[in-house]
């Protein structure tokens, strides 16, 4: 059995776990494998890293057992743990027992459960808010196409407290012009614009690829969030109209799906 170079990465929402992993992968010569535990059916970080980091293999959770039986020799394996996972009761396969444990924490935080668990504490970004009882809300939006102007309005409202106190929000959205956009918000950090993911323009029906949203906060009005997102979504005939415009404007060599 070959020994595996596995790193478990934990930390509170928005501290910079995914960013740290991305930095490690980018700075290493070896190939890397990424696994996210706790993202459930909204693999936002996995989708983001898969499209943005060359040389990274994203491993679905359901393939973990097979992977451990026949691992990619020489690859670094990064396993990101959702903030909501109880580290004390986390049971890992035997092959992962020998791993390195890294926690990414905002500066000057005293989250002892993470410190006690970790072999290495990495100082992440300073977030503007620490919630006593953070609540996690997620929604899969695969197949939906959103109007970008509406999405911008919704995102502004969401991240400025219209639907409750938001500490962290991230999402991947398909928009009318065929692009897949990554939105990322951490309370207290400078406002950022969205990132266009390195994916082909989608111009044939409803997108058959992942999109979704994840929000961490307190007193979240989940119903209002869901209703507003629904109000941003386009109907079939509108999607078809925009997709025809995309096709008409394509240049030779443009990649489409």
């Amino acid at each position: 059995m070959p020994s595996l170079n596995i790193t478990l990465v934990s930390g509170p929402p928005g501290a910079g776990k995914t960013t740290w992993i991305r930095q490690q992968v980018n700075s290493a010569a070896e190939t890397a494998v990424y696994l996210n535990l706790g993202s459930g059916n909204t693999p936002i970080d996995s989708t983001y890293l898969a499209t943005e980091v060359a040389g990274l293999t994203v491993l679905p959770v359901e393939q973990l057992t097979d992977f451990l039986a026949q691992p990619l020799v020489g690859s670094a394996v990064y396993v990101e743990l959702g903030f909501h996972i109880d580290l004390t009761s986390l049971i890992l396969p035997d092959q992962m027992a020998d791993c390195q444990r890294v926690t990414v924490l905002p500066p000057a935080t005293r989250q002892t459960e993470w410190r006690n668990w970790a072999d290495l504490v990495v100082t992440g970004v300073k977030t503007g808010m620490a919630l006593s009882q953070p609540h996690l809300w997620r929604s899969v939006l695969s197949g939906q196409v959103l109007d970008l102007a509406s999405l911008n309005t919704f995102w502004y409202e969401l991240t400025h407290g219209a639907y409750g106190t938001v500490q962290r929000a991230k999402g991947i959205f398909d928009v009318a012009d065929g692009r897949s956009l990554y939105f990322d918000f951490v309370a207290g950090l400078a406002e950022t614009t969205y990132l266009e993911l390195n994916l082909p323009l989608w111009c044939n029906g409803r997108p058959d690829r992942f999109s979704g949203i994840e929000v961490v906060g307190e007193a979240l009005d989940q119903e209002a969030i869901a209703e507003t997102i629904k109000a941003c979504c386009l109907e079939d005939h509108v999607i078809a109209y925009y997709q025809q415009q995309i096709k008409d404007s394509l240049e030779p060599g443009d990649e489409v799906a």
């Binding site: 109007d147 309005t153 209002a224 109000a231």
Partner: protein, 270 residues
């Protein structure tokens, strides 16, 4: 003569009362209103009744027209799918609660008003749905004022107050004649101004305060007024009346209930 000009009250009775009170403190001779008495806000009937009771000359706004004629918006009315859906919710709610006599009053409002060298419209002289944004092309802006024959054009609709002076305007027209010769004519326009009164009940300048303008014809001075009021009372009424709570959230931040088109080159096609 000193006049006060207000616009875009949008059913916000608290804001209207505060503005009327502020106007009282400034000894104006006459008040003009540029329309949009109703829509989005929780007290459309009370606002119209107050305007009527005070006999304030008022021109018809786009929302006033929509409540009479039904929704038939050009794309400039709604810059996003979300804004359109919210606008329709507000329209349907207002349409249900409005009194018949209020609807009748809105139906008979004129599209523009004149007072000597002053002209009053809601959006632009062409259309109450058209936005005269402060950055609109100078030629278009001048054309809109010249078409009225007035020296000062008072408008609203954008919800952001501004004063724009159009001075030293020169236009040159070159006409190619049948014999292929060219004829060139130059025009010089005297000073013209566009004054946007902002919004009493649905501000969009980043604060919840109501805005309106005072014009003193004797001194030719234009003053943009910003008036604080108990906006939380309006926010509570929005929720109590069953309007979307997001309207209250946006009002409290001076963000308008639904954003308007940002394209200054757009010409309304309604």
């Amino acid at each position: 003569m000193k006049i006060a000009v207000m616009s875009c009250i949008h059913g916000n009775y608290e804001a209207l009362n505060a503005v009327l009170s502020d106007i009282d403190d400034h000894n104006v001779d006459k008040i003009y209103c540029l329309g949009d008495l109703v829509g989005y806000g929780p007290h459309p009937n009370a606002v119209v009744e107050m305007i009527r009771a005070l006999d304030i000359p008022t021109c018809q706004g786009c929302w006033d027209e929509d409540i009479v004629e039904g929704l038939n918006a050009c794309e400039c009315s709604y810059p996003s799918v979300l804004a359109e859906k919210r606008g329709k919710l507000a329209h349907e709610w207002t349409n249900q609660v409005i009194y018949p006599e209020v609807r009748q009053y809105l139906a008979q409002l004129p599209l523009s008003l004149r007072d000597d060298n002053l002209c009053f419209v809601h959006g632009s002289p062409h259309n109450q749905h058209e936005y005269l944004l402060p950055e609109v092309d100078a030629f278009v802006a001048m054309e809109r004022v010249l078409t009225t024959g007035a020296d000062i054009l008072f408008c609203g609709h954008t919800h952001v107050p501004y004063v724009r002076s159009l001075d030293a305007s020169q236009m040159q027209i070159r006409v190619k004649l049948a014999d292929k010769s060219e004829q060139e004519t130059s025009f010089s326009a005297p000073l013209k101004r566009i004054v946007n009164a902002g919004s009493v009940g649905e501000p969009r300048h980043g604060r919840p305060n109501a805005t309106y303008v005072i014009y003193d014809a004797n001194t030719d001075q234009i003053t943009l007024r910003e008036v604080e009021y108990d906006y939380e009372k309006t926010c509570a009424a929005i929720i109590e009346k069953g309007l979307p709570p997001i309207f209250a959230w946006r009002l409290a931040r001076g963000m308008e209930f639904a954003e308007r088109a940002d394209d200054p080159t757009h010409v309304c096609e309604r």
